[in-house]
Symmetry: C2
Subunit: 381 residues, 2 copies
Amino acid sequence: MTKGKPIISILEEGMREGMQIESADIPVEAKIRLLDALSATGLKRIHVGALVSPKWTPQMAKVDEVIEGFTPVDGVEYTVVVLNQKGAERRAGFGDKLTLPDPTLGRSRIHLCDVFVRRNINITQQAEIDALQNAVATAQEKGVTHAEISINAAWGSNWLGEFSEDERMRLLQMQHDAWTAVGIPVTRIHIGDPMSWNTPSAMRSMMRRVLATWPDVRDFHLHLHDARGSAMLSAYVAMQELDERHTLQVDTAIGGMGGCPYCGNGRATRMIPTEDFVHLLQSEGIESGVDLRKLIEAGALAEEVVGHELWSKVTAAGPRPTGADVYAMDMPFVETFEEAQHFRRGPSVYEGALSPWREPVQSPGRDEYEARLAAEKESTS
Amino acid sequence: MTKGKPIISILEEGMREGMQIESADIPVEAKIRLLDALSATGLKRIHVGALVSPKWTPQMAKVDEVIEGFTPVDGVEYTVVVLNQKGAERRAGFGDKLTLPDPTLGRSRIHLCDVFVRRNINITQQAEIDALQNAVATAQEKGVTHAEISINAAWGSNWLGEFSEDERMRLLQMQHDAWTAVGIPVTRIHIGDPMSWNTPSAMRSMMRRVLATWPDVRDFHLHLHDARGSAMLSAYVAMQELDERHTLQVDTAIGGMGGCPYCGNGRATRMIPTEDFVHLLQSEGIESGVDLRKLIEAGALAEEVVGHELWSKVTAAGPRPTGADVYAMDMPFVETFEEAQHFRRGPSVYEGALSPWREPVQSPGRDEYEARLAAEKESTS
């Protein structure tokens, strides 16, 4: 039996996760330009920032101006991070532009790392556990009809090392029990990895166990960081374990930027580059609804906005060229990153480069390729 | 039945594949320093350069001086690329330092892309096919006892688009037939991907078909480029398909550098960063024999030698810290790449950074962690 593919949904994190670790001096106007470019790509969910205190996150000091200034596109959900009641009130004021949380969905979350949660949001793991019953009761009073359970720092921590699958399961089970005890079905599971401890083998094992334990849960959400280069691999492995009954939301960021100052890896924390992930989905035959060309333009703009090299491979080299986009046979030597941008900027970028061929390169293989292209074009016109 | 894991062997390509796309002005002394650092990591196979004409590869103009100057380490195989008889003669002159090719192994190779092979080494695909019978006959006369068959530009080309699995299999079968017709068993298969067309799904399907078609072949070799960010993913998928009867050689490069000027992507072509691959193997429980700390030092040196940022994630952020290497709980904000290097350069790199905690962070989780560490230390001392 061939398994079908899960539905993959992308949450673009560049404006939030990325910008929070980039310079606080990036002008609002540049941020709006990037956000509008991202909106035009076909991405359906975009995190636009965090409504937090500017004291420790000066990068978000003018997030209100960004929200006021950008132009929303129909069909795109724009969301923000809020950490407390004050943030929720600020968010409510932007109800015309932002998608507010689904009031029928309850949420609970526990961190596996007591050190990280203290460093990051100044509470303890025990306080999260102690608050669980109350939070569920309050949600029930508000009439939620289903719930998401979440573990954060799930795979391990830069302060406490690796966590076991049993510990992940224990803290998920604790939440699952709390919701089901009051008759609210758990429909979603979120796993966060702020410190990049994901590994493909731990992901495979965990997904299998979760699917076996709670077969009714169909919606998954992964927030994986990439400080050790395995985030796309782990997301891929998760995709492989799921099937057509499931949805998987993967958080990615334009150019792969991301990180929080609390995790100990700073800008080196990174995320899966959205461009590379969309390109991967294409190669796996999974529809993302995203226009890769526009996404790459947004990736190039992101580098301009942050003022340094970012880490998408596809934006640096271009996608695998197909159809009429295959390269010119007599393209000269291409060596630098600038020259490699010919795929979007045209031949001017390599003008004057060395070219070792005495005669123009010809090939019957290319003749056949072009004849096939022409025939395809004719048959569809 | 649980499948065993294949034996993974790494060919370090930084000095060859990497240096050929970096500046021709890098001093010989710096290259020797990097090569000696790589030798000290536990890597068992290192490509040290290419004995080719300096006219079109000026980066290799002084490769003889590099070979003369480096200090070989016992048990490490040092190899070079040669493209013709002249190169083979130059190589023979370094027989004291370089590992010469196994004379009992025959080799054949066909490119799937006629345009690339013309651009790159100035011959045609048809010429490669026409030369096959003769090459096998000559090898037979020389007494080879087994053979490697190889396809290059296997997954696709920037000039001719994607190639089909049937075409890959046809050109492998053609070579397999030529060797077996004269009674020489094929024991190895090499697949090259100079233009980064590998995808995980094509890799999975291909490996399954190859294993089903030639179950006697136990040794595989993958040379994957990473211009589209899927090389480590594809190598991982190949590992998953193999078992304890197999060996898989994966070519990687320190810092992920690599590319040839002929492929159209230049420096953006890249390879799998050796550091990230070794870290991945560790997380999968596969022994590589490589000291990751020393490898990361070599990765940092590589950035110094080439004079710009390279692309290993693990060298940028450090490995997942374990044992006594977990981070200090009161580490201040870490934001820049420089600050993130605390894991190997110590706390001086983040001196003076913001720190938002009024009191030192304490956690019973950390107390337990340290008690466990101390107990382990005691029990092993």
